[in-house]
Symmetry: C2
Subunit: 366 residues, 2 copies
């Protein structure tokens, strides 16, 4: 039960207070940083502990991709996410992939599928295979770094190429055969090691066991508060390049699967809505947060991408980075960095400086 | 363990969210109210749940009477509290009481004390008696209402007179004999029923059992976070009208007594400092709170009684009420109300109106 995000924030607070105490550094200002889930924690930390942290950098933090009154993200079931993936792939690639999925979804023989495309075992159904492929594309969209990166591979020895979506699209476009095109694209990610003997398709839809729930730590966290996960966002094959999949996981299904995966766990799907309010309520009651978004990264669709002039007066900032990937702004500088990424980092430094310099209450007691 | 103040705030939030949900009243603004401990909760609630409550009225809320870095209240051991009691008594009364305490503290025979002044049993020591008397004066200072009131008596049938400190002082000044003067003053409170057969002196200093810890609910709360309690504020008999009592309770003593009183309870004396920051840090990170203080009430010494121009820009307000008692502004209007109390109530209404009218984020989605 110590994995709840509020416990994580309390832990941060406890550690930071100890540091202040041990070094008699009570007046040293603290800036919270984080990307992705860490970006959400960063923004929520500033909300919950405003006297402890002076400001927060929340990079690629989908704090609005939650259930509840006032959250627009789920109005179309989170499909904006898959639309953004499609946008990152580009129209030529999207057309190829979309028509290839039509062929895949019509495929009947699971045995043939397994033998023709080198799957380790016969898949439960074609949907499991399609979802397995689809999950490549959003991962690669997130990882649209202008340099090779091991951030999203499970093994630090294996690097995805720079702009890996382009690599996957090229691979798909080079294949004349539909399903082969999908597997060519999938191989960019799933065979990043170039040493896979066969592909293992996780069981997610057609069987009693669900491989989505195997990692206990993260499962606990997203189960507890319904943290956003791409596999409960809808696809329709029109606005996106995928296929009709419009009832991925209902709240009830998630709750059920969660309490099965972790004994006794109760999901609280409205937890975030209740704790932080609706998007306008949240933005109406915080100050000093930078929300940065890589627009190639589909998670920007659930994040803070625009703020009102009134919100700007409270030192809230949005930095949208057109050629940015998932929290690329928090990564080390790289010769391949696009100018807009570099500019965003500079702006963050300037904003943080202004927070540290401001002669507000905190420095007044120094 | 559900008595912790943070649990109380979470309960408020849960109830309020349910109300919003059941009535589809997500855009209805909420103002928190409270006096004394409730005033602290009100201010802390606005701090912790700013997207849920638009603003807070914190009446006679001693949120700065805590331990930790940056809290000035304890620099002289909280003696400002007893100084304020003395100030409310006025110089003539204070001189009488101060010299009477000198006589009491020098008294040797506990047996004589009990028989002469009608105590139910022989007191453990003279200090217990002196503290029992002293606690009358701060109670009456808190209860300096301009009308008779049953707020501080344990029985709703019994009313203290209007301005009860004056009544106690008159009683003391009418007695020529020192210790008799103290008991005359004490009777205003302890014999409010006029039916007491003898006075029961709680055991607080000289014996193993400590009657301070008998009420479990409140004991849990102040034990847990070291909520301010007058019996660990120092007296010196010079700046105040009492007697030398400069090591009332150390943090260690309180912790020990607390874990004895409630099995397994661990006090966290810096809990409030850690959660809300030092006074300047707290005031530097909140907005829309009214701190009202009755200056006849000694608790104003641990409360927010002044704010900076910068803090005022964040809609923080201090309303000091010179002739006010403990959160008298939250009580029903009374023909006897002093003009400054009435004026403070009017100001609160105006401030709340401005909060409700303000076209901020919350109303923007209405």
């Amino acid at each position: 039960q110590y994995l709840d995000h509020e416990q994580a924030l309390a832990d941060f607070a406890s550690i930071l207070y100890s540091l202040q105490e041990n070094r008699s550094a009570y007046d040293s200002k603290i800036i919270a940083f984080g990307g992705s889930y860490g970006g959400m924690l960063s923004a929520w930390f500033r909300f919950q502990y405003p006297s402890l942290v002076t400001g927060a950098i929340a990079a690629s933090a989908p704090i609005f991709a939650f259930l509840g009154e006032g959250f627009e993200f789920y109005e179309n079931g989170g499909n904006d996410y898959w639309k953004a993936v499609t946008h990152t792939a580009g129209p030529r690639c999207a057309d190829r992939i979309r028509s290839a999925f039509v062929t895949l979804m019509a495929y009947k023989s699971m045995k043939d599928l397994a033998s023709t495309y080198g799957l380790c075992e016969k898949p439960v159904n074609v949907l499991d295979v399609a979802l397995w492929v689809a999950n490549v594309f959003d991962t690669l969209a997130m990882g649209s770094f202008p340099f090779r990166s091991n951030y999203l591979t499970d093994n630090p020895a294996y690097y995805l190429p720079a702009y890996p979506m382009k690599a996957a699209c090229s691979a798909a476009l080079a294949e004349s055969e539909d399903i082969g095109a999908l597997f060519a694209a999938a191989s960019v990610f799933y065979n990043v090691s170039q040493q896979e003997k066969c592909f293992k398709i996780p069981k997610t839809t057609g069987s009693k066991s669900n491989d989505r729930f195997s990692g206990k730590l993260w499962t606990y966290q997203w189960c507890k508060s319904m943290l956003p996960e791409e596999f409960y966002f809808t696809m329709n094959g029109k606005d996106d390049m995928f296929f009709k999949y419009n009832d991925p996981f209902s709240v009830e299904q998630v709750s059920k699967a969660c309490s099965k995966a972790i004994k006794g766990l109760k999901t609280d799907p409205l937890k975030i809505r209740k704790r932080y309010g609706s998007p306008p309520q949240f933005l109406g009651s915080v100050s000093r947060i930078v929300f940065s978004n890589g627009l190639l990264d589909p998670w920007h669709t659930g994040s803070v991408t625009s703020i009102s002039p009134e919100q700007q007066t409270r030192d809230l900032h949005v930095l949208n980075i057109p050629s940015g990937a998932h929290h690329v702004d928090l990564m080390f500088t790289n010769p391949g960095d696009a100018p807009d990424v570099t500019a965003a980092r500079k702006q963050q430094v300037q904003i943080i400086s202004s927070w540290l310099d401001s002669s507000d209450e905190l420095s007044a007691i120094a």
